[in-house]
Assembly symmetry: C2
Homo-oligomer: 251 residues x 2
């Protein structure tokens, strides 16, 4: 069945790793995936960060893959005892976790037989029926199982994996954005900005205050799928800033 032309494709990012929840590691993957999904016309509806606990991973994967068109996981696919994402995805899908022949070949080419120990061979296992996601950085692959894309946690590796997946995603038109800088504080423009938002239901207008060189200002970010409409809305926002005595800037 062909999906309707105006179908909205949705996604969730599932960040798996105690190191993010302990504050040891600052996640960088979400922002990267978010930008890529906007380009692919896929709406990122939610992100979650969860620990390396089997029951949690299995339950969340099943909840999220039913709810969204795409689920992207990061983290937990290395060789150590805390890397359990791959097995958990197999459990979530109710399939065996088995040696993937193509992944096995990759590891056979990477290691001498005596170095290809049990821990490293774990990384050549996937849920049965998964297809591999190439890892041009350190070779150990990720995989796709149904609508779930399982990727590494290390940003450089994750980015390479996501970049190879991105062109294969079905999405709507890319989400475009336009930013109008404003040297007035949020409280001054709020009412008028709200009125503009009401006139442009198809454009998402975000307001982000900042404090620079001793004064408050606001970045106004407009996001939408039609370039001309976005431009018109941005010009309306700029005109509103001027009317209130400010100087808008296009960033």
């Amino acid at each position: 069945m062909t999906p309707p032309a105006d179908k909205i494709y949705t996604a969730c990012v599932l960040i798996i790793g105690n190191e993010i929840l302990s504050g040891r590691t600052q996640d960088e993957n979400l922002a990267y995936i978010a930008k890529g999904l906007a380009q692919a016309g896929v709406v990122l509806k939610e992100a979650r960060v969860i620990p390396d606990i089997e029951a949690t991973i299995v339950a969340q994967v099943n909840e999220l893959r039913a709810r969204y068109d795409y689920v992207f996981t990061t983290g937990g696919i290395g060789p150590t005892h805390d890397d359990i994402t791959s097995e958990c995805v197999a459990k979530a899908f109710g399939v065996k976790w088995t040696l993937h022949p193509d992944a096995h070949k990759i590891f056979l080419s990477l290691y001498k037989p005596e170095d290809l120990n049990e821990a490293r061979l774990r990384m050549a296992h996937t849920p049965e029926g998964a297809s591999l996601i190439a890892n041009p950085v350190s070779r150990a692959p990720g995989f796709q199982m149904g609508n779930v894309y399982v990727m590494a946690g290390i940003p450089r590796v994750m980015q390479a994996m996501f970049d190879s997946v991105k062109p294969t995603l079905k999405g709507g038109p890319p989400v475009l954005s336009r930013t109008v800088g404003c040297d007035l504080p949020e409280g001054t423009i709020a009412k008028h900005l709200g009125a503009i938002q009401l006139r442009y239901a198809d454009i998402d207008i975000g307001s982000y205050p900042f404090y620079r060189r001793g004064s408050f200002g606001t970045s106004l970010v407009l996001r939408g799928r039609e370039a001309q409409r976005l431009e018109t809305a941005a010009q309306d926002v700029a005109a509103m800033v001027r009317e209130l005595g400010g100087s808008p800037s296009f960033e």
Copy 2:
């Protein structure tokens, strides 16, 4: 009723804002809250990032406040149309959203009457029964409603709010951590590290690979609540690294 001495206090962070899900803004608040909760002996079980959509915020606040001892939200408490967290928390609790007398006083002291417009007055509203969380940076307060702590999204403001809340949280003993640096790749140590983890069920051992100056290494992070036990486990990890031909370092 007094909670049992070994009660584990749990928390969730709920990051509210389209700007995080669009990739425009890199979240910094999660890592800050995570570190503070570890110091307070509260276990951060999950974090979620959701958009500025009323139905989503209300549903998630209600799901999470029932599941965890504490919920910390960030974002969405400014004066513009996309700042809807406060009203949504009132809806989640099924209470009125009203002008908070103490917050009103703060805004009366901040603005001349002609500048205290409707948008700014919105920021003086809270769910009925909420208590304020002070904002020493830009004054507009956050609030606590039941076990839900509603804080700003701007990191400097959020940090000040969280710092004032942290001493009031009930928690267990602080979670301590110890990091052993290792100049061997994960695949070499995985089996032996897993065996150590099995011997220390009360210590959470994480393994984080890195690539520096042309070779692979691993940071081994041990987390637990008993200092002596943690030290013993860290020494076991270091001894394991030495046995495998590496040079452990304590970071």
